[in-house]
């Protein structure tokens, strides 16, 4: 099997003694749409920084499509496109110059670079802005510019660090469509995101990193199956002042006054509706709470923190 990315025993110690990565192993298959999730400071950006040569590793091995970054860095870099979290282009340069210059760094002659730049700027809706200095673009456009720049040399693996941070919903959806299209055409995609809804909508495989360690590395389907409870949102005919007591169910009021109920697997919904009926609560509509992955993620990170604390207590 071909791996787009293989990481073995990767560690990173910063100068101040902080250990950002404590020996992580990770494999991403060719053609995958992969999410690397974790709370702030967990080690996501450090991992991607090492893969993309922006951070020096302390130890371990990284291979991009089989090219080891220690022995075959040039080919590893040729296979890779990187979209960082922060804007990192020269704000005074024109959009088209930023993209063609990047192509030049990959050894693509100017004529071919212009063709490729036009293709991706058009795909990302920036062609009309090609002669605009980058600083004049909106936040969403700047982010799309970084995607066009990362794709100009047609990499087989695209890494995106928080690609939709600060982007409005409409644009986020169009970026999702674009990434899905890229993935369908064969580009392997790895992203980190804070929007777990994003990972749930796009990715097939997921790794969760916390405190510099991978705490889960599995498929999204398998991960979601681990959800022992599912949350439902119910819109009631009459607004509720407080959540009713529903024996066997955990209920609370959501931000918009809708009733949110957690239903355990196998518990069924009939009992829930009987309880509601007996209290005279009429339900107008019902939907599953979208961020199932978010719940699971929060639970896992909390569990990990609890385990770390109790391990510390045992040692103490």
């Amino acid at each position: 099997m071909t791996y787009a990315l293989e990481i073995e025993g990767l560690t990173k110690n910063y100068g101040d003694g902080f250990q950002a990565l404590k020996g992580i192993d990770l494999q991403v298959r060719e053609g995958d749409f992969f999410a690397l999730l974790g709370p702030n400071g967990a080690g996501k950006s450090t991992t991607l920084g090492i893969v993309s040569s922006l951070v020096n590793k302390t130890s371990g091995a990284v291979r991009v499509f089989g090219h080891d970054i220690d022995t075959d860095l040039s080919n590893a870099k040729l296979s890779l496109g990187v979209v960082p979290q922060e804007f990192n282009f020269n704000q005074f340069e024109k959009v088209v110059d930023i993209v063609t210059t990047q192509a030049g760094y990959y050894g693509i002659p100017l004529k071919a670079a212009r063709v490729s730049a036009e293709k991706y700027l058009k795909k990302l809706g920036l062609w009309d802005k090609r002669d605009t200095p980058a600083r004049m673009l909106s936040g969403g456009m700047k982010r799309r510019l970084m995607i066009a720049r990362a794709l100009v040399h047609e990499p087989k693996l695209l890494i995106l660090d928080e690609p939709t941070a600060g982007v409005d919903i409409e644009l986020r959806r169009s970026m999702w469509q674009f990434l899905e299209e890229m993935n369908r055409q064969g580009t392997t995609i790895i992203l980190t995101t804070h929007y777990l809804e994003e990972a749930e909508a796009l990715c097939r495989n997921i790794a969760i990193i916390d405190h510099g360690q991978i705490i889960r590395h599995t498929s999204k389907r398998e991960l979601l199956q681990q959800l022992s409870v599912e949350a439902f949102v119910l819109d009631t005919e009459q607004a509720l002042v407080e959540a009713p007591e529903l024996p066997g169910f955990k209920a609370c009021l959501g931000e918009d006054g809708a009733l949110e109920v957690e239903v355990a697997k196998g518990q069924g919904l009939n009992a829930l509706f009987l309880e509601l009926e007996s209290r005279g609560i009429r339900v107008l509509s019902m939907r599953t709470k979208a961020n199932r992955l978010e719940e699971l993620f929060v639970r896992m990170v909390e569990e990990n923190a609890r385990e770390a604390r109790s391990a510390g207590e045992v040692k103490a």
Binding site: L54, S74, G107, P109, R149
Partner: protein, 257 residues
């Protein structure tokens, strides 16, 4: 990368650098033209006419090679230090770091960019000087080689300064407190033979003295030092600074965590 791809990457860096300093020409090309014209008028014409001869030439003719060299030195240095530091500051240096361009190509691209500005300004100042004096070239190859090597050397210096700099103040410290005094004391305005022997000895430790004199020899045929010793010293310094800069790049000093 293939040799052709390397050439594309190198020329991309150089074109970007040239585009940068020509885009901001009022900050880069115009000031040295104005400053040097003032030097020519004040030191060359007004004061120079009272000084008389120096080194067998009238004062204006004597200072022109030094002033051209001064413009080349400061602008080669300034171009690389500000361009590379801005890249670091805006993090657009990451565009290069993620790409397969080898470190020596990055370094040579920036040095060539610094040389493009330094030598363009050298040419502008030379043309301006023709309005004030007549320049006859004594040894053309010496002029060309000295000015090219000096420009390369100070572009390297600017690169190292930018690698070490962590804030904007750091990119003006060396030009203000090291480069300017060394240039002024490097025999631009006087022949060191005017100095007492002790200060002549001290001046010989100033590397810029060799560059100014090597260049002056090429134009006028007079020098305080052996022009071939000058060339040798510039070459040694170039090799030394190139090794330092490449080692810094390999370690990612100030650009990789």
């Amino acid at each position: 990368m293939t040799p052709q791809a390397l050439w594309t990457a190198f020329s991309t860096i150089v074109i970007r650098e040239v585009r940068r300093f020509t885009r901001i020409w009022p900050q880069t090309l115009l000031p040295p033209a104005v400053t040097m014209t003032l030097y020519f008028i004040i030191f060359g014409n007004l004061i120079g006419s009272r000084i008389g001869e120096m080194g067998g030439y009238d004062y204006m003719q004597f200072i022109v090679p030094g002033l051209i060299m001064m413009a080349v030195i400061t602008n080669s240095y300034a171009n690389v230090v500000s361009s590379f530091f801005s890249m670091k500051f805006q993090r657009s240096i990451e565009e290069l770091l993620v790409s397969p361009v080898p470190n020596w190509t990055i370094l040579s691209g920036y040095v060539a960019g610094g040389m493009a500005r330094g030598l363009s300004i050298g040419l502008i100042v030379t043309v301006l000087s023709l309005a004030f004096t007549r320049l006859s070239i004594h040894n053309l190859p010496m002029v060309v080689v000295t000015v090219i090597l000096t420009s390369a050397l100070f572009s390297l210096g600017g690169f190292i300064n930018a690698m070490l700099a962590t804030k904007f103040d750091d990119i003006s410290i060396v030009p203000t407190f090291v480069l300017t005094p060394l240039t002024y004391l490097g025999g631009v305005f006087y022949s060191i033979q005017l100095l007492p022997s002790f200060w002549q000895g001290v001046s010989m430790a100033n590397p810029i003295l060799y560059m100014v004199n090597g260049f002056r020899y090429g134009i006028l045929g007079v020098s305080d030092v052996n022009p071939f010793v000058s060339l040798g010293m510039i070459l040694v310094f170039i090799i030394l600074l190139a090794v330092v800069a490449l080692r810094m790049l390999a370690r990612g000093k100030g650009i990789r965590h």
